[in-house]
Each structure stands twice: as structure tokens, then as C-alpha cells.
């Protein structure tokens, strides 16, 4: 069994807004093992990005990580670290890359300097040495002509190149964990394939564990080891990749898998679609957040949130249908393509 490097337990994040308290993340727990790629999948507003940001405490006012949340990195509790202590960890132990590389890079600084900055801060390297190392790193992420590119500004880079530069910046200190928040969403398919390949190579060579946030099940199928499915601020199901894809137990996971057309489905057949819209997290439903849209809901679903039912080692789902007292439904018969 590989060592756990990150343990998140009962994470709760809320945002205090005029309209009320938005409970964006409600009791999320997961672990990350060494060299593993965990994908967090969900729709917009499901709390996946907030979860990722909470790991390195990038939650700003009006957002708060609530008391009782625990984020353990190599046995160390991050939840009660202060700002300065967190700065030492961000960028050197745990790094993050974002969806939109253009707005995440500083437009007024040369790309090489931006990559070097992380080395100067965390490794106390000299400017010249750090810049040379930055050029090496740009070469490592397969940016052609890195000497020239390091002296250019972000606007001179294309979308794919910017994302590579950001990956270089995140990985230059060889962090243990890389959090990738929708790293390929803004990119075209051919570039997306390049970036996913690059992330896989980096994971191999630098032994980095990755938390990948995405809504694209195709990206997940190729790159993840384990998957956590989020809905309404909760992880409703998590497990190894193949378990989730071939033996999903939660109706939401199942619906999500069925609502995307594949290259091998018949054309113009009606796609399975989930009726309705995701819940409002200002007054989240008492019971299961998916219940109002679920085809198989029971009376209890609206009243009480089920606990996680273990299915096999490492695979669990939060659904009342898995209770032994629940009626047996064939939830997954339509999954066959």
C-alpha cells in the first residue's frame, strides 16, 4: 500500500453573501496517495474548485474553511496554519495550476522570470542561476526554443504554450502534490491531448501526485487512477477509475456517464438527460442533494443524507438504494452502449 500524502476529512467551506451563507463544500473527505492521480469530477457549482483551493487555503473572504475541517499533508495539519506558514508550502510542496493560463500569468513580467521567481523565493537561489534553471524547466515541459521563449511575455505565447509555462512554474520546485484546476478546459482537443500527455510524463518523472479537477469524463478516463464524483458540495461516490466507469453505484454518476455521447453511440438517438437543475447551496436540501432530480428517489432521500456505503475496498457511494432495506432497482441497465 502506498503512503497517503494528503488526507482531507470533513472539509466544510462556506461563503457569506448578501443572500445568505452559500455552503459550497459540505463534509468532503478523501485521501491522496503518493504518485496517484485523483480526479474530482462534477458540474459547475458542485464545489470541486472550492475543494481544490481549500487544500492550499486559497479561500478568501467572504469564504471560510469551517472549524472541524481537517487537511493533513504528510501528517501535518494545514487547516490551522497561518498565512506565512502556508506561503512556505504553496509552490514548493503543493502547487496549483489554473484553467485560464492567460489571467494566471503576470502580463508585465517575462515568462522566464515568473518561473524563476518561485526558485528565488523557495530555494533562495541567485537571480542568474534561477533564470538558467527556469530555461531548463521550460525545455523540460517541451517548449521549443526555451532560451528565446523565457525572454518573452505571456501574450506572445499561444494557449497551449501558456499552459505549459504554468506547468513549468508549478513544478519547478518539484512539489509532492500538483492541483490542476480544469487544466485543459480552455484548450482545443489537439492541444488538450498534448497537455494531458505532458502531465502524465511529469507525474512519472517527478513522482508528483495530481489532484485533477475537471468536468470532462473523457479526460478522466485517460489520466486518472481514482475518481471522486461531486454533486451539490458533496462527494457522492468515489473509487478506482474502472469501478466508477464500469460499476457505478450512484444514480448521479450513472446519469453523468450516460449523458455524454461517445464516438461509438448511434446518431440522433435521444441522449439520456438529467431533468432539472443543480440545487441551490444557500439552502441546501436536507437529504441527498440529487434527490429532486433522481429517477429512483425514495421517501427517505428527501429527509436524510445517506452515509457512505462501502462497495469494495476503496469504492463507496452515498445512496439509500445501497441500503439493504431499500428496494432493489436495476439502476444500471441502460449503461450498456
Amino acid at each position: 500500500m502506498m503512503e497517503k500524502i494528503l488526507e482531507v476529512k470533513d472539509l466544510n467551506v462556506s461563503f457569506n453573501t448578501y443572500a445568505g451563507e452559500v455552503q459550497a463544500v459540505r463534509g468532503v473527505s478523501f485521501d491522496l496517495k503518493q504518485k496517484e492521480c485523483l480526479a474530482i469530477v462534477g458540474e459547475s457549482g458542485s464545489g470541486k474548485s472550492v475543494t481544490a483551493k481549500a487544500i492550499i487555503k486559497l479561500i478568501h473572504d467572504p469564504g471560510v474553511i469551517k472549524k472541524g475541517s481537517s487537511i493533513k499533508y504528510l501528517g501535518e495539519e494545514l487547516a490551522n496554519k497561518n498565512f506565512d506558514q502556508m506561503r512556505k508550502i504553496r509552490g514548493s510542496e503543493i502547487s496549483m495550476i489554473f484553467q485560464d493560463a492567460l489571467t494566471s500569468l503576470n502580463p508585465t513580467k517575462k515568462v522566464g522570470h515568473q518561473v524563476a521567481q518561485s526558485l528565488i523565493i523557495h530555494q533562495k537561489m541567485g537571480k542568474r542561476e534561477a533564470f538558467d534553471k527556469a530555461v531548463e524547466m521550460l525545455r523540460f515541459v517541451k517548449i521549443p526554443n526555451p532560451e528565446r521563449r523565457a525572454n518573452q511575455y505571456p501574450h506572445e505565447f499561444s494557449g497551449g504554450m501558456r499552459q505549459r509555462a504554468m506547468i513549468a512554474m508549478a513544478l519547478v520546485n518539484k512539489p509532492n502534490i500538483l492541483i490542476a484546476d480544469e487544466p485543459t478546459t480552455a484548450l482545443d482537443v489537439t492541444i488538450q491531448a498534448q497537455i494531458i500527455d505532458l502531465l502524465k510524463d511529469m507525474q512519472e518523472e517527478l513522482n508528483t501526485a495530481i489532484v485533477m479537477i475537471t468536468h470532462d469524463l473523457g479526460v478522466v478516463a485517460g489520466s486518472a487512477d481514482r475518481i471522486a464524483v461531486m454533486y451539490g458540495g458533496m462527494i457522492v461516490e468515489q473509487g478506482p477509475k474502472k469501478e466508477i466507469f464500469y460499476r457505478p453505484k450512484h444514480p448521479y454518476t450513472w446519469a453523468l456517464l450516460n449523458s455524454v455521447p461517445r464516438l461509438n453511440t448511434k446518431s440522433k438517438e435521444t441522449l439520456y438527460s438529467i431533468k432539472g437543475t443543480p440545487p441551490d447551496l444557500i439552502q441546501p436540501p436536507l437529504g441527498c442533494p440529487f434527490a429532486p432530480r433522481c429517477e429512483f428517489r425514495l421517501n427517505i432521500c428527501n429527509e436524510k443524507m445517506p452515509t457512505a456505503y462501502p462497495i469494495i475496498e476503496g469504492h463507496d457511494a452515498k445512496c439509500w438504494l445501497l441500503d439493504e432495506r431499500a428496494p432493489k432497482v436495476k439502476v444500471f441497465e441502460r449503461l450498456e452502449v
Binding site: E43, S44, P144, S158, G159, G160, M161, D188, V189, T190, I191, Q192, A193, Q194, I196, D197, H215, D216, L217, G218, V219, V220, A221, G222, K241, K242, F245, Y246, A255, L256, L257, S259, V260, P261, R262, L263, T265, S267, K268, E269, T270, L271, Y272, S273, I274, K275, T277
Partner: protein, 317 residues
């Protein structure tokens, strides 16, 4: 089947500097049969949206012609143009910026009816109610404002607006790419249902190849302002000919881990070149894995390799 729209050598160049032109659409020809869906795919910046808008005369073309029922729309007189605009509608990509925030849903949907003097206010109101129900909303929604709706619902309003004037042809310009996965399926199902009920013809522009396959009868692949391959949907996806189409298809992630593990990818090197300085010869030559000397010199033309299957490449020649 008769051709509803026929595009011939359409060009749209934008002037971006002194003697500098961005060739967004460069000599594109295709046709759309009545009642079918033509999918148009390609990476961002390849000119698919510009192409759709030029067909609707939202942009003045630089050259070429678009035949509607056999007549060139750019020669239309003013009143003919107005009726063309009624027949041909568009659904925009971004449901957040394409609805006027100061207008109620009813005014938005009925605007076309008013502009074309199609019916009086009372009839228009009942028509709006009918349209709202047709796209899966309630008649109570008519008096609300766009900000009260979610992305999927706004897109439904956009669809209702385009249907108000009884169009024959709709350009769907990436209608689902701003939406969540579960909502995408709802909208695509709606578009397919409306097509069969109202006998519509679609030009479906998207970059999601699996969704395009799902909805289209024929698919055209664009690269840097040109169509590189156009064929029947099944044929294009099962027997792609152009190296760009092959690479594009192999890059699409498939939501199935076993398929994904055993796949061989054709990795394209580099990025799409700038459409201002297009490479000499075949536009794809710089990224092509099988490019020969000829490809860097001569421009390939679209030729028929199989029935209704057109490719612009020198392979097998």
C-alpha cells in the same frame, strides 16, 4: 433531396493592418440539403463561426456567393433580404451575452414577430407562450428577465427566439459549449426534437466532435479558414482521409478507460499557425506527419474521393 443552401467559394478577409489581411474564411464551398444537419468542426480560430455568420449576411463577404433556393443572397433586394433574414436564424454560443438584460423574455422572443409585422400583439403573446412550452419552459416565464434564468434555460430562450419567425434554416453557433454536461444533453435532445417536428435545416457549429457526430448527417472539418474534409457523418468518423481529421479524431478523449488505454494517438506537434501568415502550399503541411515536398509548394483542392466524400489532400494521388 434538394439543396437549401449552397456556398460557393465564400471568402471573408478582415483587414488587420496595412496590406495585412486575416483570412478567416478562405474559399469555402459546401451545400446543405433541406432537412439535414451539417456539422462544422475545427479548432478555435479556424473560421467556423465567421463562416456561419457570413452565410447569414451578418458579415459582408469578401468574395464568393451563397445560394438560397438557387439564388445568390448577396444580390437580394432589400425586401428579399428581409425575408431571407426571417427564414434563416441563428442561436448564439453564449446565452449570457446574447439576451438583452433589459428586455423581458416575452419582448425578446416576440421581437422578430414585431420586426417582420407577422402578427398583432395579442396573437404574438399566445405565440410566445406556445414557443416557451415548445422549448420546455413555462408560460409564466414570459414576464421575467434573463438574469432570473440558468444557462440552460437561457439557451432555451435563445432557441425560442430563433423559432418565433418560423425559420427554415438555423445556424447553431456552438449552442452547447457554454453549458454543463447534463444540460448539454437536454439542449441537444431539444434541437433534435424540434428539427423533426418543424422540418428545420441546421448548420451546427461546434468543437466537440462527439456531440457533432451525434447530431449531424454530414460533417465538414475546417482548418485555418478552409474545409479540409467533408463527408457523411458515419463515413467521416469511420474512414477519415485527411491527416488533420485523423489527428483531430484521435485526440478526442473517450469516456471509457479501457478504450482510452489501448488507443494510439496521432500527436500533432505545435499549434495552429496564425491565420494572418498562412503557410505556403497546404495550410496543414507544417504540422502534418506525412507531408511531402509537394505539400509545401502547391495548394491541394477539394476533390471527391468517394461518393459525397471530399478531401483536400495530395494523399493517394
Amino acid at each position: 433531396m434538394s439543396k437549401l443552401i449552397e456556398v460557393k467559394n465564400l471568402k471573408k478577409h478582415f483587414k488587420v493592418g496595412r496590406n495585412l489581411y486575416l483570412k478567416a474564411v478562405d474559399d469555402v464551398s459546401f451545400y446543405i440539403n433541406k432537412g439535414e444537419t451539417l456539422g462544422l468542426v475545427g479548432e478555435s480560430g479556424c473560421g467556423k463561426t465567421t463562416c456561419g455568420r457570413t452565410i447569414l449576411n451578418l458579415y459582408d463577404p469578401t468574395g464568393g456567393e451563397v445560394l438560397y433556393h438557387g439564388r445568390n443572397i448577396y444580390d437580394f433586394a432589400r425586401n428579399e433580404m428581409k425575408s431571407y433574414r426571417k427564414d434563416c436564424q441563428i442561436i448564439f454560443q453564449d446565452p449570457y451575452s446574447s439576451l438583452n438584460p433589459r428586455m423581458t423574455v416575452e419582448t425578446i422572443i416576440a421581437e422578430g414577430l414585431r420586426v417582420h409585422n407577422m402578427m398583432n400583439t395579442k396573437d404574438a403573446r399566445s405565440k410566445v407562450h406556445e414557443l416557451l412550452e415548445m422549448v420546455g419552459l413555462n408560460r409564466e416565464h414570459a414576464n421575467r428577465f434573463p438574469h432570473e434564468f440558468s444557462g440552460g434555460q437561457r439557451q432555451r430562450i435563445g432557441i425560442a427566439r430563433s423559432l418565433a419567425v418560423d425559420p427554415k434554416f438555423i445556424v447553431c453557433d456552438e449552442p452547447i459549449s457554454a453549458l454543463d454536461v447534463s444540460i448539454q444533453a437536454q439542449i441537444v435532445n431539444l434541437l433534435i426534437k424540434l428539427q423533426s417536428e418543424l422540418d428545420l435545416t441546421y448548420l451546427f457549429i461546434a468543437h466537440d466532435l462527439s456531440m457533432v457526430k451525434h447530431i449531424s448527417d454530414r460533417v465538414g472539418v475546417m482548418y485555418l479558414g478552409s474545409i479540409v474534409e467533408i463527408a457523411k457523418c458515419d463515413e467521416l468518423y469511420s474512414k477519415p482521409q485527411h491527416p488533420y481529421t485523423k489527428a483531430l479524431l484521435s485526440a478526442v478523449p473517450i469516456p471509457d478507460p479501457e478504450v482510452e488505454e489501448n488507443r494510439k494517438r496521432i500527436m500533432l506537434q505545435g499549434d495552429v499557425p496564425s491565420p494572418i501568415n498562412v503557410p505556403k502550399g497546404c495550410k496543414f503541411s507544417g504540422r502534418c506527419t506525412i507531408a511531402k515536398d509537394k505539400c509545401f509548394e502547391e495548394v491541394p483542392v477539394l476533390r471527391e474521393v468517394d461518393k459525397d466524400h471530399f478531401v483536400s489532400c495530395f494523399i493517394d494521388q
